[in-house]
């Protein structure tokens, strides 16, 4: 049954992997994602979340997406609440530790409107890594014995053929598309990231195609001056979109911290009323503004500059 492997290879083989420009608008990039696809989301919790791309996908009316991310924060609320996504593969789902449990997540999962497939954090990472390596599984020593494993039909327990010990095999996860936000990339999609890398390099290579959003597009010449800082190669990338503050109200390492006041406002609004509050937020912040810049305007220039000041102060410490 190597069809799966050959099928995976076929999907890469039929893509144009030459060094060509692929800069486009958020709207055009959103058109590259189809209803029902599996979408890997880069970053973790409040960090390097490709918020602008998710915003565009919701506005484009995407449905029935399965989203996979190491740790899911308020972007998961948006995806559930808008109806764009009805299944999340993750290790943790809430807006963030400081805000308690997400009532939006609870509402959708407890009423059966959406699925929350729970894996250990490392297992999510190893599933992406197996996908990136082109192998059907990787072995791991966690999840064993727990109810997290008992809830999951996908992994297999084996007796190690070398040592006889019990091990878990977690299956590869190869998303149809990965959404990844980076500090900089060139028009071809050679991407360089600073600070916390999370699982993004593995996710990019595991996915059948990558949509990059970036704080800024730099020249290919600049990339070639430090090729050992490139973390995603151009031939994995299908689209490049330049979106300053593309993670707001989350953070982008070295450039801005989260907009905590907006997160406070958001969580109190939606957790008070996970249906009405969510609708109010989406209407006002996602469907209302015509462009990402208009969305940023709603967040406010002052809070954005404050977030940028805080972000730079950490990198320059």
């Amino acid at each position: 049954m190597s069809e799966t492997y050959l099928e995976l290879r076929r999907k890469l083989a039929e893509r144009d992997r030459s060094l060509h420009e692929k800069v486009m608008s958020l709207e055009a990039a959103a058109g590259l994602v189809k209803d029902g696809e599996t979408v890997g989301i880069g970053g973790s919790t409040l960090s390097r979340t490709p918020m602008a791309m998710i915003w565009a996908l919701i506005r484009a009316g995407r449905k029935r997406l399965t989203c996979a991310r190491s740790i899911t924060s308020s972007e998961g609320d948006w995806l559930f609440g808008s109806g764009a996504c009805d299944r999340v593969i993750t290790s943790w789902f809430s807006q963030g530790i400081v805000w308690g449990i997400s009532k939006v997540m609870r509402h959708h999962v407890e009423t059966g409107k959406a699925r929350f497939d729970e894996w250990s954090h490392m297992s999510v990472g190893l599933r992406f890594k197996a996908g990136a390596m082109g192998v059907p599984f990787l072995p791991v020593r966690s999840m064993l014995g727990s109810d997290v494993l008992r809830q999951r039909p996908e992994p297999r327990e084996i007796d190690c053929p070398f040592t006889g010990e019990k091990l878990l095999l977690v299956p590869a996860l190869n998303p149809d598309v990965a959404l990844i936000h980076v500090q900089r990339c060139d028009p071809y999609g050679n991407a360089q990231m600073d600070g916390l890398p999370f699982m993004d390099a593995d996710l990019a290579m595991a996915a059948n195609r990558v949509i990059l959003t970036t704080e800024r597009i730099v020249s290919n010449d600049q990339i070639r001056r430090a090729p050992d800082h490139t973390k995603i190669p151009f031939f994995a990338v299908e689209a490049v979109v330049e979106v300053p503050f593309g993670c707001a109200p989350h953070e982008c390492g070295g450039i801005y911290e989260p907009l905590y006041d907006h997160m406070d406002y958001y969580t109190s609004l939606v957790n008070k009323d996970p249906v009405g509050g969510m609708k109010e937020y989406l209407d006002r912040y996602v469907y209302g503004p015509k462009t990402w810049v208009e969305y940023l305007n709603l967040l406010g220039l002052g809070p954005l500059l404050d977030a940028a000041l805080r972000g730079r102060s950490i990198a320059n410490a």
Partner: protein, 256 residues
């Protein structure tokens, strides 16, 4: 000067946990009390303690008053020795580089299993909780210290759902499940310090905080706890400990 005679339950937790750490250890810490306790230990008796975060950070410098909101934000990376992928940092646990995993807990049972996934039947949950995060990996692969409030609804005979494994059903069940290393080492609460019987792997009282009785602990616990007749009594938090702790969290985000 801080008030040395009164302290909150969270402050007590942080101080008592910090005393369990030893100099030179490598500690995988969650945010909140674990991070506060580890940073406190670094400042007092463990200058050579190394802190790791799940987000992918080795040996950061925690700035007093600027505690990170989670382990996945850039604030965690400030002046760290190394920043790495989140799968890679968890693999360090699997390889055996970490001495202690240190987290908070919402619900624990007599064998040290933790639940952060479901209240009620997982098939039809009363409450869907946020889930494991790195908790399952950490508790599967390291010696654990867990710091949590001592309440009867949190200390239950069996957790509704084993998110992060302690000793599972006791005895050798943890090892038999494929988890030969690590395991629950200590549970620190606002009432005392707890360990696990070598054979049965059942929770037992190791020490009581000043003024706390065995009966009081049992009243707040949903399963029978054994206690040595000469159970120890912990020394109350010192002025230096409280002072240092309050400098770290001046707004009392985690120690209110």
């Amino acid at each position: 000067m801080p008030d040395r005679d009164t302290y909150t339950a969270s402050e007590l937790l942080a101080v008592m946990s910090s005393r369990l750490l030893k100099d030179g250890q490598v500690v995988f810490a969650g945010v909140g009390i674990p991070l506060l306790a580890a940073t406190l230990a670094q400042g007092l008796h463990c200058p050579g303690l190394t802190i790791l975060f799940e987000g992918g950070v080795i040996g950061p410098m925690i700035e007093p008053g600027k505690l990170p909101p989670s382990t996945n934000e850039q604030r965690c990376t400030k002046r760290a020795n190394m920043v790495l992928g989140s799968t890679d940092v968890l693999l360090l646990l699997q390889r055996g580089y970490i001495d202690v995993g240190f987290m908070g807990g919402a619900q624990i049972d007599r064998h040290g299993n933790l639940n952060s996934s479901f209240i009620g039947d997982p098939a039809k949950p009363k409450t869907r909780l946020p889930g494991t995060g790195g908790g399952n990996d950490i508790s599967s692969l390291a010696q654990m210290i867990v710091a949590m409030k001592h309440e009867k609804r949190r200390f239950v005979e069996h957790v509704d759902f084993v998110t992060s494994p302690g000793f599972l059903t006791g005895g050798s069940s943890r090892r038999d499940s494929g988890l030969p290393s690590g395991g629950m080492y200590r549970v620190v609460t606002d009432l005392g310090i707890f360990g696990f019987d070598d054979e049965t792997k059942r929770m037992m009282i190791l020490a009581l905080h000043p003024g706390v009785t065995t009966g009081q602990v049992q009243e707040n616990t949903g399963f029978p706890l054994s206690a040595d007749p000469d159970v120890e009594v912990t020394a109350r938090p010192t002025g230096r400990e409280l002072e240092c702790l309050r400098r770290l969290d001046p707004q009392r985000l985690y120690t209110a």
